[in-house]
């Protein structure tokens, strides 16, 4: 039974939550814009002097806001990597507008990413860097490094990166051949609207939102929990549109043809050969990932040509890889250790 005192505390918590006044600031780690092109932005984070000579370029996904990587003070993957002595940069695609609607996978893999990598090397003075891709950002990194083996990428770490799209479940079911075409989901701006992206994610766990509200009600008295809930809830409902042309390619090639697995992906008239990726590769997969199921990400190390391709398997969910307790205690330390082990020897 809930007593009157507990009820009053909950009411206070509910008012705090509804007012949103105590919501933590998201994306608060100080950073500097070091490069931009169209809507793509390259940020460099301010940390204490990096002890690792190999900077880390984080490549974010195309469908969500990047502040999930720097959620709030005390729950920030970026801040963790900075504390681990890494020089951290983030490539953020921001929200695409109508001018971005014709961006193809080539636009990202052949133009933005190589230029951002060059800019990151330029600003840090490093000869090589580690690319850390998250979700679809991992796919873009994979395509870019495969098509441009000359890029100064020392290591490739990929978190929850789908390669076998036949296991993407409900996310791909709607656009299988014979149902909807990519064009049916694109609005007049030429992009897939953010609301549709969000609805697709919600469909994956129909009871998920109710369970989250139950958690919130149970822990309304816990200020720290409520603050974290506010930040995460904001992110969950803050998607960005998906550039229409790239979405069309994703549906045609990656979902319908499962071309990454079949090795038949062609972009710009040239076959994408994942076997051309020779640098060390780490695939970080989450056993409870409901967005990119384990089976969709698991084959990655077998597809690349690297002799040093490994897997870090965690009992976490999709977001749990980058935010929350499991990220801070398992995922991020594991990634930071791997990056340090695979970095160049620090100058004596």
């Amino acid at each position: 039974m809930i007593g009157p005192r507990s009820l009053a505390r909950r009411a206070r918590g509910a008012l705090r939550y509804a007012g949103g006044r105590d919501a933590p600031e998201v994306g608060a780690t100080p950073r500097e814009l070091v490069w931009s092109r169209d809507t793509a932005r390259l940020w460099r984070y301010a940390g204490d002097a990096a002890t690792s000579p190999t900077p880390v370029l984080v490549v974010h996904s195309l469908v969500s806001r990047s502040y999930v990587l720097d959620l709030y003070r005390g729950n920030s993957a970026i801040a963790f990597l900075l504390r681990a002595g890494l020089d951290v940069l983030l490539l953020d695609w921001e929200a695409p507008d109508e001018a971005d609607a014709e961006n193809t996978l080539e636009t990202y893999a052949d133009d933005y990413l190589p230029r951002a990598i060059a800019a990151a090397c330029g600003v840090t003075g490093a000869r090589e860097l580690t690319v850390l891709g998250y979700c679809l950002g991992g796919d873009l990194a994979l395509l870019s490094v495969a098509r441009h083996p000359e890029l100064p990428v020392r290591n490739l770490a990929l978190m929850a990166t789908p390669v076998d799209f036949s296991h993407m479940g409900a996310l791909s079911g709607l656009v299988r051949a014979g149902r909807l075409n990519a064009a049916d989901l694109v609005d007049r701006s030429g992009n897939v609207p953010a609301a549709s992206v969000e609805a697709a994610f919600r469909l994956l766990k129909p009871t998920g939102e109710a369970a989250q509200y139950a958690n919130l009600w149970q822990r309304l008295c816990d200020e720290e929990y409520v603050a974290g809930y506010q930040a995460m809830n904001r992110w969950v409902h803050d998607h960005v549109p998906f550039p229409g042309a790239a979405f069309g390619q994703l549906v045609e090639h990656l979902v319908r043809d499962n071309a990454l697995m079949a090795g038949t992906l062609e972009l710009g008239g040239r076959r994408v050969d994942l076997g051309a990726i020779r640098c060390p590769v780490l695939s970080v997969v989450a056993e409870r990932d409901h967005i990119v199921p384990l089976a969709a990400a698991e084959p990655l190390p077998r597809l690349v040509g690297s002799q040093d391709a490994g897997e870090l398997r965690l009992r976490a969910g999709h977001v749990g890889l980058v935010a929350g307790r499991s990220a801070a205690t398992v995922t991020l330390p594991g990634i930071a250790d791997w990056i340090r082990e695979h970095g160049v020897a620090a100058a004596a």
């Binding site: 809930i2 001018a99 409900a170 299988r176 469909l203 149970q218």
Partner: protein
């Protein structure tokens, strides 16, 4: 779990019972076919409403959302042209 309140235990039991079937349902062929048909229908209805309201508003010489969108598309197209020219220039430089 002993430390969970009764209401939460009941909620979790209900959620456990519902989550599996609900997730299986949204993955099913029937659900996806129905959703695809619904989305197509919604798109058709939206176009029809726009077509009809456009005709009425144009009779009164009032610009419509379609007109604004066309302008916006033209601006986007110009932006893309500028980007293309910049890339060409960088390629030559």
């Amino acid at each position: 779990m002993a430390d969970r309140p009764l209401w939460r235990q009941a909620f979790d039991a209900a959620e456990r019972a519902l989550a599996g079937p609900a997730e299986a349902a949204v993955r099913s062929e029937t659900f996806n076919d129905a959703l695809a048909a619904a989305l197509r229908g919604q798109r058709w209805a939206q176009r029809e409403v726009e077509r009809r309201t456009r005709r009425v508003l144009h009779m009164a010489n009032v610009p419509t959302a379609t007109d604004v969108r066309l302008l916006s598309q033209q601006v986007a197209s110009l932006q893309r042209e500028v980007r293309r020219l910049r890339r060409e220039q960088e390629g030559e430089g």
